[in-house]
């Protein structure tokens, strides 16, 4: 179904650069599960390593936004980009980080609201109020 090979565990074990990233994914997440995204990126070990390092820094390390909020922003972006895989994987991640059904309902309502007003604003080409500008 993909445009690239998805690496098996045996193949990943045989390439030290890929093995190092897969090992760190498992250690960081405290789980043996390595999802297909990383198995596809394994074809490009440099890109695999750079993407995983950045994801750890942005999504796993402590920050000014709590982990669930970060996941909700991630799903919102992925929804508008129509990235089916990303919506699936990050909705699962949000649930794993405690998202309740009521929070999911609020999330969906906000996404629907924003989509709707985005369409209305763009179709009417509303100019930005001076009050909203900073730089």
């Amino acid at each position: 179904m993909s445009t690239v090979k998805l690496w098996s565990d045996a193949e990943a074990e045989a390439d030290p650069r890929v093995k190092a990233v897969f090992d760190d994914i498992r250690a960081t997440r405290k789980s043996d599960f390595v999802n297909n995204f990383w198995r596809g990126l394994a074809n490009q070990p440099d890109l695999l390593a750079a993407t995983w390092e950045r994801l750890k820094a942005v999504m796993v390390a402590p920050g000014a936004l709590d982990p669930l909020t970060r996941e909700l922003i991630y799903i919102a972006v992925s929804t508008v980009n129509g990235c089916s895989y990303c919506v699936h994987s990050h909705t699962a991640a949000a649930r794993a980080k405690g998202m309740t059904d009521a929070q999911h309902g609020d999330f969906l309502a906000v996404v629907g609201m924003a989509m709707q007003t985005n369409g209305l604003v763009t179709a009417m080409q509303i100019p930005v109020d001076p009050e909203f500008q900073v730089g």
Copy 2:
């Protein structure tokens, strides 16, 4: 700059349906400022009323997600849709609801990360892991 007329306060005062919405916007927000989006929607009083009622329910009423989180989801959607007006107005709203510079930095980092992996996933057409599926 817009494809529709932007209603002045005087024009809004003269149409009871528009006046009712503008009055409620001012009362709800405890501010005299009515931004251009509503002045453009005023050309279609039914759509104006329906949109404002829904926005109040989704963004203003208490819910399972706090108001700032809802604004961040809103900005994320608006960013991917390339809605300049919406990014401006809801970034201003997020700041008014207490968003710090550090939180904005985290928001930007998550948006950048999600955009990047969305592109990688779609270019590789990664199939959804069975572990992520619910329904």
Copy 3:
């Protein structure tokens, strides 16, 4: 403001391939006005000619959909793509072809509705009902 030169009438007159297209635009539309899109495309005379020929066939020639309906579809596509220029030019074209304010209101309401449900469907990753499939 653009990334390419916009050709003046004098420049267009001096290039026979560009002049031929500009002349046909004016004759077809029965108007001396040639909008900026064609002045930018003039840098690439082959692309200019191919685009104009296709636009005439799709948007001007008689067809199974009336001219206003075709414009509304055009604006809908342009809105979701966030093409400010295209929204402006085709909203003007729709008005020139008789679009009333009430029709514009309906158009905006449908765009807003579709945007909203698109977001909800994608965030929930709803599978296609077998009843909807043809091929």
Copy 4:
């Protein structure tokens, strides 16, 4: 395949708020078929009710645009958003409302034309002609 549970008829019967909406969908459409979108939204009864009420007002009630034109606008938006489900369901709806093959051909041609010129305009960053501006 979805990120949420799809409600069966039995589950819908057992929740009065969901049952009320499903009953109204069936009565309005004069059909027993309730498509998956509503079965996914059923997890959030408030959002389900609000979305259905709005859809009825925008897509079913008489208006300034005929029902088929509204469906074509809906499919255009859904196509650009890449919402596979929405393209399927509203193409089926358009056919049910009388769309001929020739009209579908015109629709496809306009969508293709708009996509093409949207890309050209954005890549060239063409400035809006003053003639197109209203507000």
Copy 5:
């Protein structure tokens, strides 16, 4: 799975307009394989012919960009539009035109980088530097 019928070879043989295009696709590509896109477009013979003629001119004929570079641009556009079919077909075409794994890796890295900065720029609404403007 599609919203239109996919034409079999037997059906294509029976319609002279469709047969002419299928024959030319096979002759141009020196292959008997006609992919599903053309089998769907066959429902609209005029659109089929116009699309194939244009594709030949833009993607097959000699030009200022080599064939592989044109495919990479095509995949980039298709990725952002979330067109799964197009990503698949043009990644296969790029490989057939000699794309190496290292080139695919570079392509993916650039797509990821562009997506990321697109998101950052739009969220910050950075104004265009005068140095970048031409027209």
Copy 6:
């Protein structure tokens, strides 16, 4: 016009982390010009440094694709995302790296072609031919 402050040279000089990145941008590009994107990112020094490091690795360092091809892919992504700033800055970069008018013409033609077929494919929901699948 932006949603964040754009840092002046004086402000950048006063913050060692921002100054280090601005200095490296100038040294790498052998130019005193620092464009607005980096002046906006300067509000978030960690994100500024991470983004610049990654951009250098992906766009500046030698790779399997030549620098101009990488720019064309970048512009293609930015065009579909509707990122006006990015289209401007990377079209200027492509010209600085030798893009001719004829190459720009080919680029525009491919973008237009891909946009058009993306729309047609998505509206018809064409299923992926088994011949195109790898993983």
